[in-house]
Symmetry: C2
């Protein structure tokens, strides 16, 4: 048996003994987890999940050491330090070849009732060749927090910035000051944006956002936030907007602060079936793009910047715990005590 995080319902997160992770398919790897995270998206079930007797294994961001590989695995070997994206993918299907590994025809999510999650001692990794990326360092390295963000939040912020066409000469607005929004600020600056407007209301997060490159902060909400962004952009709105929350209100704000011809990158998981502002986005020819970030595709581009210290997204991980502290880590993130919690094994 091994120990892992299991969620049984809203607010009910437990550390339990579960069956030992092991190789099942010839394409699997077995990874001993050394670092993992609690994700903002883990808070959706933490707030809303109905009770389940089976429980759901949790965690989709992790770094670890390869303990064993199946017979067909070629790209990683025992002893490698590896980072996993928040979805696993075969690396060879039509969508993987296009760099959209989150739509892999033979991939999927971690955890749940069928697979191991990252918030546990070990993980069976399906499609190891397509999924894992070996890191050129040892397990104690100080770059670990930043490398860990390549699993999800840094790649997700980058995705929002890319699909919103952030870059030189563009005004970027970032809706949401959570870990993804803050990484979105970092990504926008990395891509060359000069004016970066962060919409958020938490002093600690805003302070980090300014260090990451935000030039303006808007802490109003709703219509007032929209007016304030218009004031900051000569009345026209932002060229690129990153939606990093997922609620209807934040989506409405994001869609309405984009200027005509602008683009909105959605990476906050939408909590509603419909999207607002269908008519105003039409009138203004706004492009709406985004979705689950193909972070596996972005690792090659972002890894050198992390290794050479040009970006330090790991600063969003402002609390560290061991596995036993995970339930309290969920609580702390849900109550906005912590931006994002790292689990060190």
């Amino acid at each position: 048996m091994m120990r892992a995080t299991v969620m049984y319902g809203a607010g009910d997160v437990r550390i339990e003994s579960v069956p030992e992770a092991r190789i099942v398919e010839r394409t699997d790897a077995l990874v001993i987890v050394t670092h993992a995270c609690i994700c903002g998206s883990d808070l959706w079930p933490y707030r809303k999940l109905e009770h389940t007797d089976t429980g759901l294994r949790m965690g989709h961001e992790f770094i670890g050491v390869v303990e064993d590989v199946g017979a067909d695995v070629r790209s990683v070997k025992r002893g490698d330090v590896v980072v996993a994206p928040f979805m696993w993918s075969d690396g060879t299907c039509e969508f993987c070849e296009q760099g959209l590994q989150t739509s892999c025809l033979h991939g999927g999510f971690w955890g749940g009732t069928e697979l191991d999650g990252g918030q546990g001692e070990a993980v069976r990794v399906p499609q190891a060749d397509g999924t894992l990326v070996a890191l050129p360092l040892g397990r104690g390295d100080s770059l670990m927090p930043s490398l860990l963000t390549l699993s999800d939040v840094m790649g997700t912020g980058h995705h929002a910035a890319v699909v919103a066409r952030a870059g030189a000469g563009r005004i970027v607005a970032v809706v949401g000051d959570g870990a993804v929004g803050l990484c979105g600020v970092l990504a926008a600056r990395r891509l060359g944006a000069e004016q970066i407007i962060l919409l958020g209301r938490h002093a600690d997060r805003i302070a980090l956002g300014r260090e990451f490159g935000a030039t303006d902060v808007v802490s109003e909400r709703g219509e007032e936030a929209i007016e304030r962004v218009l004031e900051l952009t000569g009345g026209l709105g932002a060229h690129s907007v990153l939606e990093c929350v997922g609620y209807e209100e934040s989506t409405n704000t994001a869609l309405r602060i984009a200027r005509p011809g602008g683009a909105v990158g959605r990476v906050g998981v939408p909590q509603d079936a419909a999207m607002p502002a269908a008519q105003s986005t039409f009138r203004k020819n706004i492009t709406i793009a985004g979705g689950p970030a193909p972070v596996r595709a972005y690792m090659a581009e972002l890894l050198p910047d992390v290794m050479e210290g040009r970006i330090e997204p790991g600063r969003v991980l402002d609390r560290v715990t061991d596995l036993d502290g995970v339930p309290d880590g969920y609580r702390a993130m849900n109550e906005r005590e912590a931006i994002k919690v790292m689990i060190s094994f």
Copy 2:
């Protein structure tokens, strides 16, 4: 006085005497209309407009002869045959310079209560230099119907195809078999698409769609239409989808038949405040783009193909009337007797 089309409410279209069109600003031109159209978008008020005592001047697609120009007009002169886009624009603002004339900071729509509309004997054209394009032919030319579609429907179908990234190697689906949808088929073929799936149910329109390049036709609706498109695309959906209707059902269909990483170009005027399928488009990283087509920007690209007969979008104009026949033209289009009506003065 001159004669023009005025709408007073749903189903209430009249030909009336109105004040003579004349030059007001130094940037105006006065155009004597020779050819105009009734638009599918004119049918929205034809079905829903509440009674108004003032009435609304109608028509936004026209070709005519320049009768006079204001002192500052440089690009057209008396005697020129000109085509007008469905919105007027100054040609010099930030958005015009980007080719997004439908968001011109000093532009607007034809007709209504303030301006002349195209469905009348003459039009005062604001911002003539930015708005009008001179045509290299006389007023009786047989190319007139196709040239007239550059005012709106051909440029609009082209816009949908462009923003949906139609092109070589891509599977394109076109939702709607109206004039815009049919022009979308033509635009998709022009851009190199090989498989073009037309979703429509009217035999005459489908027949023209096949001549324009549709390789498959889907006449089912709702969930059945979605299933049928998936069958035709190896279960994956279309790379590029053109939404050419504007109803919630057609939008839902369009958004759900796009494959992961695909793009939907919206040109049907949305009739609802919310957009469906917010979550499934997110999961699949669908890009949603489009809006009022900057047909003024597309004229330079499309005009040579019309002049040299490579495309014949004027075939969507399957009925011709004089000004007195306009009210019956609205009725015929609304009852699907005609695809699109041309008015010849």
